[in-house]
């Protein structure tokens, strides 16, 4: 369970990241956080992982406040960044995946077991000795997911996971996101291109200028998402048109 209560955050340059944001997400849901550029989506995700701490309000994951136990929060909430290259820290694929478990001070055999499992889950086990920078865009994104899987988090947050990916890359990443959801994890995905994932989404969170402007099931918010700088999915647009025609 994720709970945000009256969260406020502004950056050092005075830009407001989040303003009085409050909502809750039950465990096991796939949630899309949508909004235009600069609406506060990434700032919100960074609060969940403890990379940013709220200046006012509280962020809790499974009852633990991000202010109280940062290592515990980072073990519970894995974050996949928008730019995969920026997230890769290892000189080989296996070494990169091992980075998180090593930070958890796990024994070496357990680390190796988790690395193998995570690489198998994203179908990269045959590239474990390869240098990560030689992977394709989709493979790099899958590698970053493996790095998070190896930490066995209860919540995984994705920042714009489909950006700069071709069709095959999008399909591969989407498959991983759905597998995470199927395994019972809570998954949050930020995007302003919700078409790719909306069919599998339990809940939509809409952001605008750091404020939460809407939250609920997709059917409730899809007809109005374009007001907030998010492209309405074609299927939703068609549905609205058919309904108005029938009426």
């Amino acid at each position: 369970m994720i709970r945000l209560a009256n969260v406020h955050f502004s950056y050092a340059d005075g830009n407001i990241g989040l303003q009085d944001v409050s909502f809750g997400i039950p465990a096991g849901e796939l949630v899309v956080v949508a909004g235009a550029n600069g609406s506060g989506k990434t700032t919100l995700l960074k609060h969940l992982n403890g990379l940013l701490l709220p200046q006012r309000g509280r962020v809790e994951v499974d009852g633990i406040c991000t202010r109280d136990d940062l290592p515990g929060i980072r073990q519970r909430v894995g974050m996949v960044f928008q730019h995969a290259d920026a997230q890769i820290v290892g000189e080989t694929v296996a070494e990169d995946v091992a980075f998180g478990p090593e930070n958890l001070c796990l024994p070496r055999p357990e680390i190796e077991r988790r690395v193998t499992e995570a690489l198998e889950a994203v179908s990269l086990v045959h590239k474990k000795h390869q240098r990560p920078h030689l992977l394709s865009g989709g493979e790099k994104r899958r590698l970053t997911i493996a790095g998070i899987l190896a930490m066995q988090p209860a919540v995984v947050v994705f920042d714009e996971p489909f950006s700069s990916l071709d069709l095959f890359g999008v399909r591969q990443v989407l498959r991983q996101i759905l597998a995470l959801k199927a395994s019972g994890r809570t998954v949050l995905v930020t995007t302003h291109d919700i078409d790719k994932i909306i069919a599998h989404t339990d809940r939509v969170v809409l952001m605008q200028e750091g404020r939460l402007v809407g939250e609920g099931p997709p059917s409730q918010w899809l007809p109005v998402v374009e007001r907030y700088g998010v492209r309405q999915p074609e299927a939703s647009r068609l549905g609205v048109a058919v309904r108005s025609w029938l009426n």
Partner: protein, 251 residues
């Protein structure tokens, strides 16, 4: 992205890959001392050894040449300065500049020594995982008082991690400049600022993002370190390096 800098770890099974990183670090220091201290007559066998070491890594030599061409320019500059500044029998006189025979000889020897030191460093970087290097530095610094070994080791590890990133950023900035300059790859001296400042900005941003990503994955100084095991082969390699240094000092 397919062409990547050689300044980074490459997985392999060469003898250099298999050595314990602590021994490898000491061997690097010992051999560097040998290269620096060796009389010119001993440079031939030492160079042959280093070339054989390189060959055992099976790295593409053409790419290596391309990657280290900036260092070659530096070595050429060292050679020229030595050739011009060392007194001796003049070979060429031109507008008051004199190139001496001794200067040419000295310049060639110094440039060759630097080249061999660079080659040794590259062998080390190519065959050593940064995480192992970090563990080795931590091990070496542990007995040193007033030094926070984990922090110092992390810094060394990050620097090594950042060499290929820096290289990549330079290449990307050059490509962006070439794309807007009619495809001209070479920069004039006055245009260097167009390369340096954007590259520095990108490197700082990349460092910032990398630090965030490390934090997001729970980075802390106390973590599971690689298992380091020294074997008899490490002892033999260490003894061989010490013998090379002793021999060069005795010649």
């Amino acid at each position: 992205m397919a062409e990547l800098s050689v300044f980074g770890y490459r997985h392999g099974r060469s003898p250099a890959h298999r050595l314990d990183v602590r021994c490898k670090l000491i061997i690097l220091l010992v051999l560097t001392a040998a290269v620096v201290a060796a009389p010119p007559v001993a440079m031939g066998p030492i160079s042959l050894g280093i070339i054989l070491l390189w060959a055992s890594l099976r790295l593409p030599l053409r790419r290596l040449g391309r990657e280290i061409r900036l260092f070659l320019v530096f070595l050429m500059a060292v050679f020229i300065v030595r050739a011009l500044s060392t007194p001796g029998v003049s070979v060429v006189d031109w507008h008051g500049l004199s190139v001496s025979r001794e200067g040419l000889y000295q310049g060639a020897v110094v440039a060759w020594r630097l080249m061999m030191v660079l080659a040794l460093g590259l062998v080390f970087v190519t065959t050593t995982r940064p995480s192992h290097l970090k563990a080795a530095v931590q091990w070496l610094l542990r007995p040193v008082p007033f030094v926070h070994a984990p922090k110092a080791a992390t810094m060394v590890g990050l620097i090594v991690r950042f060499i290929p990133v820096l290289h990549q950023q330079v290449r990307e900035t050059r490509s962006a400049l070439a794309a807007r300059g009619g495809g001209r790859q070479r920069l004039r001296l006055g245009q260097i600022r167009y390369l340096v400042f954007p590259t520095m900005r990108r490197v700082v941003l990349a460092a910032d993002q990398l630090a965030l990503a490390m934090l997001a994955r729970g980075y802390q100084e106390t973590r599971t370190e690689p298992d380091l095991h020294a074997t008899a082969a490490d002892g033999l390699a260490l003894a061989a390096a010490a013998a090379v240094l002793a021999a060069t000092l005795m010649i």
